[in-house]
């Protein structure tokens, strides 16, 4: 059922005659008003403002001063640091989106059947949903500590997990995957529960083993859930900020300088709101394109 159909089907026309006065016409809009006022003030207007700001150079207080046209954009496109940032962001998003999905899938499969302790396990797997990224970052600060942290103690290594460019992105990604595993678990579990048992029965009669069942039946059946979850993961990964700020500050070099952090840095450290605004618009465009690509991909490969 398409969106339009579902919208049309659910409405009821007022039956009482003579009630088609001004109020009845305005009423729906009144219901929408609170939400749209907030959207207008804090979403639509700022979005426009950001586009406007991106064409200016700002002074040390953040006021638009010198009209700069598209130069903010061209300066970014010709800066190696910017492209490094884009590359890092894509790597980060890919690792986190798929990593989170895999962990969520694994934990969902592990708790698909009943056994003693399954409730505890389920609660634990979902738990990261309740942990703030800032709090987790602080905990991981200790875990990743180069001389006194858990990882180096357990593995007997001396790796500087946040200061070594080979490991910094990995460390931040692992933290983000841990954080994302909760919501992935919740949604994928829900998806698994929605698969009708009949599908499995016919397979076990055929003598299909666990893995065969998994790949031929389970995964295709939950593909809408998986697809939906990947989008959620991607959008969430693009917005990851506190981990970077608290663990690596975008470094070492540009190794973890994801776009969102670069925006923050430009705006609230260098006070160059124009450049930061340009970065924001570019980020928006990227997210938009990715989402559109995904939706067209969905039409082709997701099974219902």
């Amino acid at each position: 059922m398409s969106l339009t159909d579902s919208l049309k089907a659910r409405t009821t026309k007022p039956r009482v005659p003579g009630k088609r006065g001004i109020y009845a016409v305005m009423e729906p809009y009144l219901f929408l008003l609170p939400a749209f006022v907030v959207f207008g003030l804090f979403l639509f207007y700022p979005f426009g403002r950001t586009i406007f700001l991106s064409t200016f150079l700002t002074d040390k207080l953040g006021n638009a001063r010198v009209f700069w046209g598209v130069r903010n954009y061209t300066d970014l496109f010709t800066s190696s640091s910017f492209w490094a940032s884009v590359g890092v962001t894509f790597q980060f998003v890919a690792i986190v989106a798929f990593g989170g999905l895999l962990i969520g899938l694994a934990t969902s499969l592990l708790t698909a059947k009943k056994y003693p302790g399954v409730t505890f396990a389920s609660a634990s797997y979902a738990m990261p949903v309740a942990i703030a990224s800032a709090a987790a970052s602080m905990a991981f600060r200790m875990i990743l500590h180069p001389t006194n942290g858990l990882l180096n103690i357990l593995f007997g290594t001396q790796i500087n997990w946040t200061g070594d460019p080979r490991w910094a992105l990995f460390s931040v990604s692992m933290l983000t995957i841990w954080l994302a595993s909760g919501i992935n678990f919740i949604f994928i579990s829900a998806g698994l529960r929605g698969v009708p048992d009949e599908m499995y029965e016919s397979a076990s009669i055929d003598g299909a083993g666990y893995w065969r069942r998994l790949f031929s039946i389970t995964l295709p059946s939950i593909s809408p859930t998986l697809f939906f979850q990947i989008i959620i993961n991607i959008i969430g990964a693009f917005q990851s900020f506190s981990q970077i700020r608290l663990l690596t500050q975008g470094g070492p070099g540009d190794a973890t300088n994801v776009i969102v952090y670069a925006i923050y840095r430009d705006a609230f450290f260098n006070f160059r709101f124009g450049t930061a605004a340009a970065r924001s618009i570019i980020l928006f465009a990227i997210v938009l394109v990715i989402t559109l690509i995904q939706f067209s991909f969905e039409k082709r490969s997701v099974h219902y």
């Binding site: 946040t162 200061g163 470094g251 070492p252 070099g253």
Partner: protein, 462 residues
């Protein structure tokens, strides 16, 4: 689907649901409890002038500030009440001022780091301390001249020095003894450090290093200090202190940057140090847990190191090391100073001035010095028993003071509007050098280019 049976009762939705009443009760309880728990304890009968002080001192130092403020409030009870707000790092604090200043000045006195000085002057928000000094006839010779020199431009003292520090070399005396080095002799330059570090390195049975001889954090401040130690300038126009503000960096032209990056490269290539991240926190922790035997840090970390090391080993201190053995120059003042913000409200400004004077009074400075390691900025402090006793117990506190007296005002350090950004860029490029992305020449060139570009844009828009 039938309507719910309690249709009439459902009208209660118009009133608060049970959940919302409950929530409201909890909220008011929490509010009441937190008020009682004393967000402000002044029970003065008349209303005192309230001022706000922003600072960036954490840990042991932050606790000292809290105590000093408490004492001030007791001494000035009923007249002035200061609220102290920790704002995170120096970077965070100055960015908050900048951001908040766009609408309204957020506090009355703020502690700003050395490199924020040019920005504060440019901002126009600062009330130069000179004005309060002139108005009261305050005796400025009470302040150590080498320190005051840093914050004086055109004969005007803009901010009141408060927590001044110089960088020091810290070493593990016990470890020195273990390997046969004289525990009372600190290395004076990097050649000596390399030599000693090799002796101090400890490997375990598998050949893995369990203790590095030397380690340091990637801290832009050190870069600036080494410029001074080599007697070189950071930027043009008399290091930014001339009639015109700086327009470009000069460390690429004088070979200064090259020398500094050369030291880093040598240390990494020869496996003498391991990268300990930006800032000093990881290096401090590594020193405390005996993973490194020599490190560089501000004198302001002395107290906290003493507290955390305890009896594990004896801490030795030495002057900040030279790059080359024959360098002639000196360190400049680091740390921060107290800036008064011009609120236009005479009552608050006078109250703020009282607070500033209190913070640099000899007794308070003696306490501050003993609690932190920052050296006293008031000359008279040296005569106080409290100060002398502390020095007798921990002679390490004297190293920084001696180093201060042996430097000269001409090494006072640069003034640059975009200094914070420049310092961060230095750290970023050091990282890129360390992980082999760029060689020394490329690092210097690109670093200079980026800082110059930042300076240009700033000058264009301000």
């Amino acid at each position: 689907m039938k309507p719910p049976p309690h249709f009439a009762g459902a009208f209660q939705i118009f009133q608060e649901s049970k959940g919302e009443t409950h929530m409201r009760k909890i909220l008011s309880l929490i509010l009441a409890a937190s008020l009682l728990l004393g967000l402000g304890s002044a029970m003065a009968t008349e209303s005192p002038t309230e001022i706000v002080f922003w600072h960036s001192m954490g840990g042991v130092n932050g606790e000292a500030i809290a105590k000093m403020a408490e004492d001030f409030n007791v001494a000035y009870e009923g007249k002035i009440k200061v609220t102290v707000e920790y704002q995170g790092s120096y970077d965070d604090a100055i960015n908050k001022i900048r951001a908040a200043g766009m609408s309204a000045l957020p506090c009355d006195v703020v502690q700003v780091y050395d490199i924020g000085s040019r920005f504060m002057i440019d901002s126009g928000w600062a009330l130069p301390i000179q004005e309060m000094i002139d108005a009261e006839g305050y005796d400025i010779t009470q302040i150590e001249p080498n320190i005051a020199a840093y914050y004086t431009i055109d004969g005007k003292l803009y901010s009141m020095p408060f927590n001044s520090s110089t960088p020091l070399l810290y070493y593990n005396k016990t470890a020195f003894e273990e390997v046969g080095l004289d525990p009372d002799v600190a290395p004076k330059n990097f050649d000596e450090i390399v030599e000693m570090a090799e002796k101090l390195t400890v490997k375990d049975a598998d050949g893995k290093v369990t203790r590095y001889g030397f380690g340091m954090g990637n801290y832009g401040w050190f870069f600036e200090q080494w410029m001074g130690k080599m007697g070189l300038h950071y930027v043009d126009n008399n290091n930014g202190r001339g009639a015109d503000p700086a327009t470009k960096v000069v460390f690429d032209e004088t070979g200064g940057a090259e020398a500094i990056f050369g030291v880093w490269k040598r240390m990494i290539d020869e496996g003498i140090i391991t990268y300990l991240g930006r800032g000093n926190n990881d290096a401090k922790a590594a020193f405390i847990s005996k993973n490194i035997a020599i490190t560089l840090e501000s004198t302001a970390a002395l107290k906290s190191l003493l507290v955390n090391v305890g009896d594990e080993f004896e801490i030795g201190t030495g002057y900040f090391p030279n790059i080359h053995p024959d360098d002639e120059g000196g360190v400049s003042i680091g740390g921060g100073s107290l800036w008064m913000l011009a609120s236009g409200n005479d009552e608050k400004q006078n109250a703020a001035w009282e607070f500033v004077k209190y913070m640099i009074s000899p007794d308070v400075q003696a306490f501050w010095n003993a609690q932190t390691g920052y050296f006293p900025i008031t000359v008279a402090t040296h005569d106080l028993d409290a100060f002398k006793d502390n020095l007798a117990q921990y002679p390490q506190f004297g190293t920084a003071i001696d180093q201060l007296h042996s430097t000269a005002p001409q090494y006072a350090g640069a003034l640059l509007s975009v200094f914070p950004e420049a310092r961060a860029l230095v750290e970023t490029y050091t990282e890129r050098l360390i992980n082999g992305e760029l060689d020394i020449a490329a690092t210097v060139t690109n670093l200079a280019k980026e800082i110059n570009s930042a300076i240009e844009i700033y000058n264009l828009t301000n």
